[in-house]
């Protein structure tokens, strides 16, 4: 595969990262060299090999289903770039 300007625009959009000419130019170069590198895997025969997502060899441990009250609203909101009346503030969404 080859990464074109349109690919960079598309994946930047999916990643919610704003682009410009210079960024796109650099990324086309970098991402193609990375792509070429990772495509070495095409040499490996993987028929009938199950994908390995995690090396954890235990059943997921479930916690007891009980309520715990944290009540840290103020602390949590203190890290927000903008908040008002115990809510996060974002640019207007509805017209």
């Amino acid at each position: 595969m080859t990464i074109t300007k349109n690919t960079v625009k598309k994946i930047s959009k999916l990643s919610r990262i704003a682009t410009n000419e210079k960024f796109e130019k650099n990324m086309i170069k970098d991402l193609n060299s990375i792509l070429k590198f990772i495509e070495q895997l095409n040499e490996v025969k993987t028929d009938n090999v199950e994908p390995l997502a995690s090396t954890v060899d235990q059943e997921l441990i479930k916690r007891e289903d009980k309520v715990s009250l944290m009540n840290k609203k103020k602390d949590i909101l203190s890290n927000s770039p903008a908040d008002n009346e115990n809510f996060y503030v974002v640019p207007k969404v509805i017209e």
Binding site: M1, I3, T7, V8, K10, I11, S12, L14, S15, R16, I17, A18, T19, F23, N26, M27, D30, L31, S33, I34, L35, F37, I38, E39, Q40, L41, N42, E43, V44, T46, V49, E50, P51, L52, A53, S54, T55, V56, D57, Q58, L60, I61, R63, K72, D75, I76, S78, N79, S80, P81, A82, Y88, V90, P91, K92, V93
Partner: protein, 486 residues
Amino acid sequence: MSEIYNLTLCQIIEKIKSKEISCEEVTKSFVNRAGKSKKLNCYIEDTFDQALKKSKDQDNKFESDKKLFGAPIAVKDLFCTKGVQTTASSKMLEGFKPEYESTVTSKIWNEGANLLGKLNCDEYAMGSSNETSHFGNVINPYKNDKDLVPGGSSGGSASAVAACLTSATVGTDTGGSIRQPASFTGTVGLKPTYGRCSRWGIVAFASSLDQAGPMTKDVKDSALLLEVIAGHDDKDSTSAQNKVEPFSQKLKKDIKGLKIGIPKEYKIDGISKEILNLWEKGVEVVKSLGCDVKEISLPHTRYALPTYYIIAPAEASSNLARYDGVRYGFRAEGKDLIEMYENTRSLGFGDEVKRRILIGTYVLSSGYYDAYYLKAQRVRRLIKNDFDEAFKKIDTILTPTTPSSAFAIGENIDDPIAMYLNDVLTVPANLAGLPAISIPAGYDQNNLPLGLQLIGKPFDEHTVLNNAFAIEQSINFKSNFKDWWM
């Protein structure tokens, strides 16, 4: 008497407990030295005043049953510390003060250590030279005619331990981020088995690979720190329930009869002659200690790095979706919500982070998921199978940690692939979830430290540590830089 800051973590704690030195004297010793070492740029933020105050209190209220009593410890700035800025070295998180403490660091404070500060690293732990940090390069205390990188991503941690600016530290290792900088700075770095330590409260990079671990002056210190930070945590469902042994008390240097494998595929193209000589020296050492050394094969080794550079960015692109300019950290303005997200992420992340988010998004996107992401997960299984097979016949694997010694700042920054190749010998242990340690084993002709790596069976840190301890005692490595930055 030699300066307190030169002592190992275990020596410091022993001297505090025997009342030979006070907690306050210890903290002062590190605070003074770290204060005069700003040029190395190890600390993003210090908590010297709080640490000094706490150490005074500790001298008045002695708790000799605590394993790390009185030890001043700075940590990689990837661990959330309650009320203390945690940035992951990113502009995106500048000013972020978590309202909770990571499990690993809270275990350290519960044993009587005090936070000395937050240590520089590559942005979101993505890098092998500490050059991607928003807060600038960390400098290696070892140098030749130029300033050298400390390795990465735990570069601030490695330099701080080597230069005696903290008694010990914890880093994180996703593809070599503890072991490679340890090798570059002549220090010890241990990546535990995946699941050994809780990941709760650590800024996430690639969740199926990330693991916290000790970075210390010697093997015994790593053993002690591991027994403190290991263990199951209800808040991390991937943390293991395996018993945590008192690793430091069980250390022994008699490793006679241990079966050690030498993987022939690790003699990669481009590896320096000096690294091969060091490896040979390591083999001679373990033979002289009565170990049974045999060549083994890990046939898929050369595919580990390409596999890693699909899986890690894929997981990162998902983990880093949370930085949206709404809940914490940096926000850029935009005419609507979407533009605000896009501008925030464009200005808040550095280039390497953006590269990885884009490549991760690409390999997960519709039409490419099977060809890249699932393919990589299949190769990951083959890599793990190689290790499973090898460990039927051997106890540990001995390799070099890195293909070269520390390089100059700026040398590899324009070529992502050249930078990625730093981790070619460390990445396989992450993909297979295995414990691995780097210990300093010698110097190259430019007087720069080189490390040897030992890889063990899952949850067999005990054997890895004993093996490392025996080699360490036999080689007797001594750091030999001058304090040129003061």
